[in-house]
Symmetry: C2
DNA sequence: TTCTTATAGATGCGATTGCATTCATGTGTC
DNA sequence: GACACATGAATGCAATCGCATCTATAAGAA
């Protein structure tokens, strides 16, 4: 197909396949260890890194590249689980602040070792250092 | 974290983020053009390439790296849409053959240009030829 | 002010997913 | 054959997703 060389198709197919498989494997491993979903972890990490431990849903949405309704519901669940707290936003009456709770921070920290180990086993251990670095950098250009 | 170097985490994060964004973008583009989901396309492609245009659900499942129930339901929809035909499997009484229909083949062929163009625009056009090739090959080692 | 348009966020509803289980057939052992 | 166990496939149910829409506030124009 002249609009799309074979190498591009190969990269695409591999990208999709690899990501889905890795994500499913890591997720399954975490679930088996009694951990909540990766999305929760990501959200908690974003919140914990934000100044004051809080973000507006819009910003969380952009940071996580999620659709708006998805963020809205994720936040719902975090709040319901006591991992985050909803606050009114003094700057913008339409908005709010989501602040990570102490429990949220603790969970995030407790989760990291599991997460890291899963990533290392499924990704890190299967390529050389140089390959990992190159992969990360190539993908970085696409973010 | 000593079990997981920073470069590995970077590769992981980029991999997940890039794939999700690209997939969502391409999928949205196809949907806007009235095309069915990518999963349908992939399944039709697998079937069309298989000898006799047919595969056992188990094999389709392995080829697409999907969970079993997912394949089962995908096949359901394809059959319901007239794009594939369920056949009894003479070799194994538990199994079946799924054969792509004429309409299925036509749809697959009709879809490809849209698909290719979207891949080219979102992935191919954003890296050099060499980079694409390297990306594809690095990811290939992880399949 | 009033009207229009843009943005933040929530939500109803139908489609899809994940999990666990079920059913049916195949395989191996005795 | 009779049994236990493995494998192919479907499905009930709850959770989640995607889409479209809705509410409320903000920002700007007339």
């Amino acid at each position: 197909m002249k609009t799309c060389p074979e190498t591009t198709v190969r990269a695409w197919v591999n990208l999709v396949r690899v990501e889905q498989k890795l994500l499913a494997d890591v997720e399954a491993e975490l679930k088996a260890a009694g951990c909540p979903s990766l999305a929760w972890y990501d959200a908690l990490l974003e919140l914990s890194r934000a100044p004051g431990g809080r973000m507006r849903p819009v910003d969380l949405e952009r940071a996580m590249l999620l659709p708006q309704y998805s963020t809205s519901r994720l936040v719902d669940r975090l709040v319901k689980a006591g991992l985050a707290i909803r606050q009114v936003c003094p700057i913008d009456g339409r908005g709010q602040f989501i602040e990570i709770s102490g429990e949220g921070r603790r969970l995030q920290k407790r989760l990291w070792p599991f997460y890291a180990e899963a990533i290392q086993r499924h990704l890190g251990a299967r390529l050389s250092r140089e390959e990992i670095a190159r992969l990360g950098s190539l993908l970085g250009k696409l973010v």
